[in-house]
């Protein structure tokens, strides 16, 4: 999210609306907003209807891979405060780009928490999307 926030001007320049979607409660969402300082609208989908509509289910086996455990260990060693578990830790996330015609141009479900496209990769697709390219 920090990376996305840093590139906010690029999104605006490309006429892109960034929408963040959460399945958490309103309180959780507000706390997250405060902690991350995310400047984007945060939509609430507590029943995960939209998550499911985009193919984002739950993955019990894949979430706690060694790579993921190592990442959290590093974060904890760096003193980063981790949010307490609330709700479902196995729900997958993901990034999707939809063009103005309603067509999906990028679909990246997160197989595990370390699996997200870089902001550079997102901007590259958005740039092409805006030009009407493939």
């Amino acid at each position: 999210m920090a990376q996305l926030r840093q590139r906010q001007d690029d999104f605006e320049r490309l006429n892109v609306q960034v929408l963040v979607i959460s399945f958490g409660t309103e309180d959780w969402a507000k706390a997250w907003l405060e902690e991350t300082g995310a400047p984007f609208p945060l939509l609430l989908d507590p029943e995960r209807r939209v998550y499911r509509a985009y193919g984002l289910g739950r993955s019990v086996l894949r979430v706690w891979s060694p790579k993921v455990l190592w990442r959290y260990l590093r974060l904890m060693m760096a003193g980063r405060r981790l949010k307490p578990i609330q709700g479902d830790p196995h729900q997958l996330g993901g990034d999707f780009i939809v063009d103005a015609g309603g067509i999906v141009r990028l679909a990246h479900p997160s197989r595990d928490p370390t699996d997200r496209p870089s902001v550079e990769a997102l901007l590259k697709v958005l740039c092409e999307t805006g030009k009407g390219g493939v």
């Binding site: 999210m1 490309l14 006429n15 892109v16 609306q17 960034v18 929408l19 963040v20 979607i21 959460s22 958490g24 969402a29 997250w32 907003l33 984007f40 609208p41 945060l42 939509l43 609430l44 989908d45 209807r49 939209v50 998550y51 499911r52 509509a53 985009y54 193919g55 984002l56 289910g57 974060l75 981790l82 949010k83 578990i85 709700g87 479902d88 830790p89 196995h90 729900q91 997958l92 996330g93 993901g94 990034d95 999707f96 780009i97 939809v98 063009d99 103005a100 015609g101 309603g102 067509i103 999906v104 141009r105 990028l106 679909a107 479900p109 997160s110 997102l122 958005l126 999307t129 805006g130």
Partner: protein
């Protein structure tokens, strides 16, 4: 990704080239957001679905 079976319910993974599913959700601040309305203004949209941790 193909078809994923989740508790007996088939979940089709959206992929590039598919038509995005429309939705209407409310923001934390109480604002109603419709995807189709937003796209209608000519903007592209980046949807960031949050995971639970981090």
């Amino acid at each position: 990704m193909g078809r994923l079976l989740q508790r007996g319910t088939a979940v089709l993974a959206l992929k590039s080239g598919d038509t995005a599913s429309d939705f209407i959700l409310t923001t934390v601040e109480g604002q109603v957001v419709s995807l189709s309305r937003l796209l209608h203004t000519g903007r592209s949209v980046l949807l960031v679905f949050l995971r639970h941790l981090g």
